[in-house]
Symmetry: D2
Subunit: 321 residues, 4 copies
């Protein structure tokens, strides 16, 4: 069994990891580290787990764990790893943005299996992608892989309230958000960097803009993104490129017909829809921001690093309704 | 024109008062007092008012105002009034619970027009009823008035998130509340005192229990309450009592057929439905917790105190959808 | 008093018209025509009106009415008007799309007061704009008026479920729509025609594309739209153009700071926010689809046609929460 | 492998069964019968299943299946079984109400494992309990088992929109239900019969009323119920009775602290909370109406009938948020 630990256990992504790992056939959840809740039972915070686990939060880490997931706020993973030394065998999956941009100062691999599967298999350190970045990158990567992103890409995406984390703020207050909608961080969302890095990895000469308007939706889970750009070929040609690019993908599928967010909620899937209008290719992409956009993908990466089938423990029943 | 002031201008009930008073034909909104937002424009906090008012929050009160509405937290009105002396002519409408229970220490009149209309007309100080108290009291008052509450009353009510105020808490976080439901303060909600006081005012020998389970609903506005008790007469007899009791009510109506919460949202109305099952009379009651349950009723009380038609400025268009 | 009639009284836009006209100080709601509900009380269908009106639906029209609002499905207004002859003095406001495109076959004026105020004042027949068309056109009209739409405009907008009408369908089923999101009619929404006609009226040489992705949101009321295009000037210059263009607008305002949908729900306002990123101007626009996007604008047009202040009867209290 | 079939495959409960059975380690989903969708792919109706199954709907049944689940409307199971003869070995789990009331005319066992586990293990025909009936019965059964239901039980429960099925109606229209709340079928809900039958099975002299007010909530999944009655013992005594009664229950747990609906959404659990106020015991009960209230419990019954661990295939990851 893989002995796994979670660092920063009280937030949404940690909760999802716990839910998945408790049911994972090859994993023993060794410890959940929390400085804010030490000694408390895990099910007192993640209250759906009543009757399923007796785990309590610890304020100490097991340095011999086989894998450790970092669910700390952005900016805190780097500090945590310099303050806490794990054994050489310990693999790290970091869910923050700290190591997503390539740098000579670290050896983290960007954990998007659809792009970097072989590298992930051999990696010890994984930078798990951002949620918007996952939804949007998967929508355009097959184009980049074929050198076909030649003009501006126009992206509009909406995320649920879990995307903002557990902290309380005006825009996560129920009264504010219920039946509301608003754009934020237009053209300047921090995930644009990751998306650009991915596109350039496959399309080296990539120079065009990705115009991205993120929105706050009045739902809890999920991301729905639309992306369009100029594409001179036929729709069938585009579908062929996408089918080919994702032929080995475990969770990313090209679909026909209408697509809506709830098709993927509580699953690790990314569903894509392709349409052609005039000279533009429109790609719609939906994911669960906490699963394929965070904890599900983290476990997918863990599976790959440990030589397991990518889907192990991730055959989740969607909630759909 | 009635010169009106609002004390504690940043919360939900203050916002509703501002919305109503800005449109009230006999009122000039003289000042909105806020210690947290002095100098800020009112529309920067109550952001739907953009384009409708240039008012700013003040940190001083006008002691010569004709009427002052207190929108302070429970427990703070008493202190505010002892720290701030208004002119003799200034009428006070307090939206907190500080003066709702009769006492020899104060001369506030309980501002439920359906019960105390004449007293309100002559009052200088009004204790505006609680939201749950309004919905539930109006559901059972005609029975009390006829000495007919003889066995336990069983009440279940659900309130929207605005009932919890603007402060942030776990149960007002969108992610928690969205698509969720929970009971709280069962049998012990603080409004039970007010309700009991009202019932006893009309039915002096009243001794039975009111069993009340409040619930948190996943909507923003409104209260839906059901109340049942033993009633030996026919349904038509009950309807007759209610019709008679509310024949002069400006906003409380007995309806036929299904009743649902959105029939009253964004209005000052209370709608009641009566049904008989076996030996039990079931009364369903719906109000908007911020209007008939707070700011709308406060203006209704003001209208009565100043000799205006009770409905002045309260012919609000419901949002319904 | 203006004697008003409504044709097709059971739908959402008719309901909103009834709510507004019952409170309009210069209007008597003379009749509400419905072939599906004749003889039924209006408040049995529009159930928030209990206690406010005794009107019943008629299956006959008053041909001498001063103004008649047509709330029939798209395609039915033309037929209705050829089957029913009104008096010469009767003014018509059609809420369908039947007469929105200019044609030699009819003399309807496109009822967007921000663009056609003088024409509307003298008109007898008004084609009331579509909801998406209103939100989007108001977002870009000042640019067109200055000949500044020179490259593609990229529009993404989301509408509430009332936008789909009262008829039942898979995508208006609560279970489907709750916490869901989906794009539809991308690049091909029927309102693109109206928007193009408006832009061309002000910018004669307009030839660029408006790329429009409409979305279904999981809320009941409102439209939130973002539109961006290349704009070489400074942000302040853009703001100046918009302020100038809307200086006489009764309900359209340029705001500063964050903008969200609920700022306009249950009002007749359109709020706009301008931002500049690189060489692009981003305009965010919010309206209530049933009010500024339908019935509120219809009454605004009526006010203009009858020489009233544009705002009469439209000083609606927003629901905000 | 157990060869399983589903009759009536297009509705909500069938969808949930398909989701569970596709992941069940001991089951092969042999066929999904649908007269409305024959030949269509299952994932075209249950659209979250894209990428997970190639099954299509059939309009023929496999009479040799090991187990068949009937997901037909109430009243249709009886007819279906008289029109379609299965092999002697075929076990039937009926999700309708057709066989829930004991009768000499059939040999169906009421499939509430917490009450009838041994009978279920030996049964060939199971009548799967109703959703409200499950939530409410589990809240009061330990009292009945100890002969302690001596006065009226007062029950208030709220269900999500999936409780009303896939058919479209006014009260399942998003615009109606969004942010709304309403009681219906008060004191007369059809599940009262089942509940009474369960209580009487354990407390033979049971004669008191169960006063039940069901409500429509504005969420998709789940039931939240409160039930109270007179109880002369201490709270700890009650907790002891419940703990003892449910000590072998696989999915029903007594919890401490606050309880809310989302703790069980997308799981097969029933969570109970006990509180004492004066002489009354209040029990709060939450389930997912489609799982413990329908399809999850159906699979739990199947597991028992085939000698499997009750939990097999039902260790579902909750969606929680």
């Amino acid at each position: 069994m893989i002995e796994a630990g979670i660092i920063g256990g009280a937030g949404y992504t940690a909760g999802e990891l716990i839910r998945i790992l408790l049911r994972h056939p090859e994993v023993n959840l060794n410890f959940v580290y929390s400085t804010s809740q030490p000694g408390k039972s895990v099910s007192s915070i993640h209250q759906d787990l009543v009757g399923e686990t007796d785990l309590t939060f610890f304020n100490q880490v097991n340095k011999e764990a086989d894998v450790v997931f970092l669910c700390l706020g952005h900016g805190n993973s780097k500090k945590f790893l310099s303050d806490n030394q794990f054994s050489k065998k310990t693999k790290i999956v970091d869910l923050s943005s700290d190591f997503r941009m390539k740098s000579e100062e670290h050896s983290f691999v960007y954990g998007l299996p659809e792009m970097n599967k072989e590298e992930i298999k051999g990696a010890n350190f994984i930078a798990n992608p951002g949620c918007f970045a996952t939804a949007i990158t998967l929508a355009i990567l097959p184009l980049a892989d074929n050198g076909l992103i030649k003009e501006d890409v126009h992206v509009n995406a909406v995320t649920g309230a879990t995307g903002a984390g557990t902290s309380l703020s005006e825009t996560t207050h129920f009264t504010w958000r219920d039946n509301n909608f608003s754009a934020y961080k237009s053209f300047e969302h921090q995930h644009l960097q990751e998306i650009g890095q991915c596109v350039k990895q496959l399309q080296k000469d990539h120079k065009v803009n990705i115009n991205f308007i993120p929105n706050r939706g009045n739902f809890s889970r999920g991301i729905h993104a639309t992306a369009y750009t100029k594409f001179s070929g036929e729709l069938e040609e585009a579908k062929g490129l996408y089918q080919e690019f994702y032929k080995d993908a475990a969770f990313t599928f090209v679909t026909e017909g209408d697509l809506h967010l709830k098709q993927v909620v509580n699953t690790n899937k990314c569903l894509l829809r392709l349409q052609k209008f005039g000279d533009k290719l429109l790609v719609t992409s939906v994911i669960d921001n906490l699963l394929k956009g965070a904890s599900g993908q983290a476990v997918q990466n863990m599976n790959l690093m440990f030589g397991l089938d990518e889907k192990t423990g991730l055959g989740l029943k969607g909630s759909y309704f």
